[in-house]
């Protein structure tokens, strides 16, 4: 179960990274309109990292 949850968390971080990178690349053209997409990417990375930290704690690793 922890493995599945870990894989989901990694997928979330990766997808968040993809969205964030693609949105940041459009800052010159989109300016403020990229904000919702940037927030989404950042939130996904934050949640994924948070869940990975919880999983690491559950496994007893630092």
């Amino acid at each position: 179960m922890l493995l599945v949850r870990g894989m989901l968390a990694v997928a979330m971080v990766a997808l968040g990274g993809v969205i964030l990178t693609r949105m940041l690349a459009l800052v010159p053209a989109g300016r403020l309109t990229v904000i919702p997409g940037v927030v989404l990417g950042a939130a996904m990375i934050a949640l994924g990292v948070h869940r990975l930290a919880l999983i690491a704690r559950a496994r007893g690793t630092p």
Partner: protein, 542 residues
């Protein structure tokens, strides 16, 4: 302080951390299935901004509920926190607004459950078969009422399975959608070319908040959760972030989606995906299923199961409305905010039958109001003339947004009140960003986030009153009728009308923590109380 013993039967604390998460998820997670289409229809190119604003407010609300539910793990929810923080009459108003939301919840989610089913069963499409749609929704509401009367409750295990399937399904849709169908340039183009008017943006933002309603379930679950002060903060934060990410992800994806199959209007002109929602109530009611079907390759499979999964999740949420309204009414009745008839338990089934039937009847009345324009052309003319031609789904969403914004506004005020008047209760989870100060001789932490959250939700309440033609009439009418009934009841019982009954909150708090199994927190609370009393006695002597 003595530890009182109670002979009354208590709810079994059998809800685990995952159970607590899935309980909340099956309630709040279903909201995006309803809210997405409505927001896309009104906020157009700013739908993601509407969700972002409502989402930030929702995070503040979620943090407030987390702190309150972990500190006061009782099954009263918002009305209990507000009653304790601000007084009886405000507790009644908050609880009455929540009851409006729960009754709307029953109808709205049963309605959209049928809408999602209509994706696979076209004879249930509301615009072409309004009577069949109405009869099926009515049948669902009556069926849920009957199930709750005879005591068949939703099982936490079933909720857990459906929630897990839904989280996996939504994650798959969003991952594949963002990887293979999302065009950031299209998102930027849509936002720049289809930015709504201020009125539409206000309307869209007030509708976006309905995607985040149901946090009451966190506090509802608190009374049945093992070690709630520890478990609730952990599960709530995960729940809040998951729901926020889904809402933001769906809205961004919908605006920047390159459809798998070309979408054209009646004239054969190509359309963007989000453009299928304005002026189309049928599509608004099943937005997630329509979006899932547009994900390349995976959409062929998703088109078959997402409507079923959505319909089941929505039905669970509808059931939580029937169950939750009777439980809130029960809690309000025990606090003398509602007549004792709402506490009466049926001898045969041992369920609050009167409460369940009463609020189910209100849900059916709301259904009739929502369905009337589709069923009777004369009523449709009336709605067009006086209420901007709102459809059934919009009528229900109006009231849902009104009830949520009203109750959440009071919850923020209740949190501020409790931080000032009850600083001695141990708070295992505390909202960050506080200003330390002294109030009535005690050191308190003034919550800045609660003030910001109140301003946010109050602005959404103002948007609702400004832009919702039916919500601004029926919502305040519900509150005024409720307050009149409350005053009559309190007068009849010779209780204070505008002031609160005298209660011993210290004894009650110790008892709450004892029942929750939080014995360390109970000891800490008793020690805080003794230290505070000693300080006061010392000050008086000197």
């Amino acid at each position: 302080m003595a530890r009182p013993k109670s002979s009354e039967p208590e709810l079994r604390r059998s809800v685990t951390p995952w159970g607590s998460f899935s309980w909340g998820y099956s309630d709040v997670g279903a909201d995006i299935f309803v809210g997405l289409g409505l927001v896309l229809a009104w906020a157009a190119g700013a739908s993601n901004v509407a969700f972002l604003f409502a989402g930030v407010v929702y995070v503040c609300i979620g943090l407030a509920y987390t702190e309150l539910a972990a500190t006061y793990p009782v099954a009263g929810g918002g009305q209990y926190f507000v009653m304790r923080g601000l007084g009886d009459i405000f507790g009644f108003i908050a609880g009455w607004a929540v009851l409006l939301d729960f009754t709307i919840d029953v109808t709205l989610f049963a309605w959209t459950s049928v809408d999602y089913t209509s994706q696979l069963v076209p004879s249930l499409v509301n615009s072409t078969h309004p009577w069949l749609h109405f009869v099926v929704v009515l049948g669902l509401v009556l069926g849920l009422c009957l199930l709750n009367v005879i005591g068949v409750r939703e099982s936490t295990a079933f909720n857990g399975v459906v929630s897990a399937l839904d989280v996996l399904s939504e994650s798959a849709i969003l991952c594949l959608g963002f990887l293979f169908a999302f065009r950031p340039q299209l998102l930027i183009h849509t936002m720049q070319m289809h930015w709504p008017t201020p009125y539409q943006l206000m309307l869209g933002t007030s509708l976006a908040i309905i995607s985040f309603v149901g946090l009451e379930s966190i506090s509802q679950a608190a009374q049945e959760t093992q070690r709630p002060a520890s478990v609730i903060p952990r599960t709530s934060v995960a729940l809040i972030l998951t729901i926020l990410i889904f809402a933001l992800a769906y809205s961004n994806l919908a605006l920047g989606l390159q459809p798998w199959h070309p979408i054209t209007d009646a004239g054969g002109h190509p359309m963007q995906f989000w453009q299928i929602f304005p002026h189309n109530a049928d599509n608004q009611g099943k937005a997630v299923a329509l979006l899932a079907a547009q994900v390349p390759i995976y959409g062929a499979f998703a088109a078959l199961y997402v409507p079923v999964l959505g319909a089941v999740l929505l039905l669970i949420s509808s059931n939580s409305g029937v169950f939750g309204s009777s439980r809130i009414a029960y809690a309000m009745s025990t606090s003398n905010l509602l007549p004792s008839v709402f506490q009466r338990v049926n001898r045969r089934y041992r369920t609050p039958m009167i409460s369940i039937v009463f609020f189910s009847i209100i849900a059916i009345v709301e259904l009739i109001f929502a369905a009337a324009p589709g069923l009777f052309p004369q009523v449709s003319v009336l709605y067009t003339r006086f209420f901007h031609g709102e459809n059934g789904l919009e009528f229900l969403a109006d009231l849902y947004a009104f009830g949520a914004a009203t109750s959440y506004s009071f919850v923020f005020l209740g949190l501020i009140g409790l931080r000032l008047t009850d600083p001695l209760s141990p708070r295992k989870f505390k909202i960050p960003l506080n200003i330390p100060m002294r109030f009535r001789g005690e050191r308190v932490d003034f919550p800045v986030i609660a003030v910001l959250g109140f301003l946010g939700i109050f602005s959404i309440l103002m948007f609702t009153l400004r832009t919702h033609a039916l919500g601004r009439i029926f919502g305040p009418t519900w509150l005024v009728l409720g307050i009149l009934a409350y005053l009559l009841y309190r007068r009849h019982r010779r209780l204070p009308l505008l002031r609160s009954e005298k209660r011993n909150w210290r004894t009650e708090q110790a008892e709450i923590l004892r029942r929750a199994g939080e014995l360390e927190l109970m000891d800490e609370y008793i020690a805080n109380v003794k230290a505070s009393d000693a300080r006061r006695a010392e000050t008086t002597t000197t």
